[in-house]
Amino acid sequence: MAAFGASAYRPLPGRAPAPGFRFTLYALLSAALMFYDQRGGVLERVRFWMQAAAYPIQLAVSSPSAAWRWLEQSFETRASLQAENSQLTKQLRELAVRTSRFEALTRENAQLRGLREALPPVAEKWLVGEVIDVELSALRQRVMVNKGSRNGVFVGQTVLGKDGLLGQTLHVGPWSSEVILITDAEHAVPVQVLRNGLRSIAVGTGDSNSLTLPYLPVNFDIKPTDMLVTSGLGGVFPAGYPVARVTEVRRDPAQPLAQVRATPLAPLDRDREVVFIWFQPGHPAAPANAQTSPANPGAVDIQPQPVPPRPPPAPPTPPAAATTDAAPSPNTAPSPVTAVPP
């Protein structure tokens, strides 16, 4: 027993190589994997199938909580259901009132832009996915959603929550996809202050209900309760979707930058259902270098490339022509806007 010193390790001949050699082998293999995974799309296929292999286990792991939710739902009382129903009816009425002038407004907007036809909405189709209850990493803000490339989901797709922007897809498997939330410390979303149109970038903090805007000068016109919407720059998110509401602005005169915090509008930690959206390719609100087709996951670069913003489509028609509906101006707009009837 006393002989078990540091030198006691004696590899049995003919069984396996010494652990030091094996470790070196595995370390080199890991390093090669990391190198090629960092380098881009080489291992994206491998990752795709690994995610596919992981999916059954993830489903199995999430099944107890899913079963629990199902039980809760099926034993909900009549009273609570009625309460929910009346609340939904009320919401529906409110929305109907708000959208009742929507048609007229789109018409008016088209006239102001000098277009013959009103623009269709930027989101041409959408898909509802459900969050799978599975822990990806306690320190990062990621969720797994039960829709993947078989449903047409692609890497870098915009994901919306109930009340606002949720995040974008990061890795896509055949039946599932990993969504990075806007509050992840590695995520940044280009935003615009709705009140005055000033642009900045909202960066995640790693905390599920706070974003920070680190690049604002002290004299920037921003105040608490300001609404932040996506600006459409950056090539991932379409413009105009609500992101967050500013909660705190601290201006320290000694520092060049203001410290601004905002709370995301989508309840990131409670949303069960998320919406993937596909946008119209040539729409002015669509991101500049939009990927619109469900692309081959092996070929897609994950990182949104910083592209120069496309100039907004300027209405070239004279105002006189724009005011009359029937003015036949066939190709007045030089912007690649495809005016499709809604």
């Binding site: 027993m1 078990f4 540091a6 006691a8 390790y9 049995l12 069984r15 396996a16 652990p19 030091g20 094996r22 470790f23 595995y26 370390a27 293999l29 890991s30 390093a31 090669a32 994997l33 990391m34 995974d37 960092q38 291992l43 491998v46 990752r47 690994m50 995610q51 292999a53 992981a54 286990i57 993830q58 199995a60 792991v61 999430s62 909580s65 209850d133 599975v134 822990e135 990806l136 990493s137 306690a138 320190l139 990062r140 990621r142 990061l170 890795h171 990993e178 410390a185 590695e186 790693g206 599920s208 930690d269």
Partner: protein, 159 residues
């Protein structure tokens, strides 16, 4: 030296799967932060208890599985787990001779090293998470080590 021939591969793979499930089980956020890396602890146990049965291959594959589940850079956790299984295999005879509490200390050190490697690679690959919370799980991992030894059998102290 009976333990050298002890190769419970079935138990090993099953316990690794259970460890994986425990590691990805959804928990409330405040609890998830303190959750030990069960799969790594189980792999560590087997590299001490039966170094020839699974050994570094088990560790490396387990690490790759963690990479796939966490969406990390492929090879990141694989390298970290392979490193600590290497240490565990290299010193398994000394560790086995120790009382369980000393082994807990070793488990803590190994898990801290694992987390350090992951943290370093996170930083190098441009995905830094500099939260102090990430250093909690080696402590809880060390704390549950006696339980793991109890559950998976008393092999480490058997000679």
């Amino acid at each position: 030296m009976n333990a050298v021939a002890y190769e419970p591969r079935g138990t090993m793979i099953f316990s690794a799967l259970v460890g994986l499930v425990l590691q990805v089980l959804p928990l409330p956020a405040w609890l998830a932060v303190g959750r030990p890396a069960f799969l790594v602890v189980v792999v560590l146990y087997w590299s001490i208890a039966a170094p020839r049965a699974g050994g570094m291959t088990l560790g490396w594959v387990a690490g790759l599985v963690i990479d796939a589940f966490e969406g990390a850079v492929l090879g990141e956790h694989a390298l970290a787990v392979a490193l600590i299984t290497y240490l565990a295999i290299r010193f398994h005879l000394q560790i086995r001779n120790r009382p369980v509490l000393d082994q807990s200390l070793f488990a803590f050190a190994a898990l801290a090293l694992y987390e350090f490697v992951v943290w370093a690679i996170d930083g190098w690959t441009g995905h830094p998470v500099n939260s102090a919370l990430r250093w909690i799980h080696p402590i809880t991992g060390g704390l549950i080590w006696p339980v793991v030894v109890l559950v998976l059998g008393s092999q480490p102290t058997r000679r």
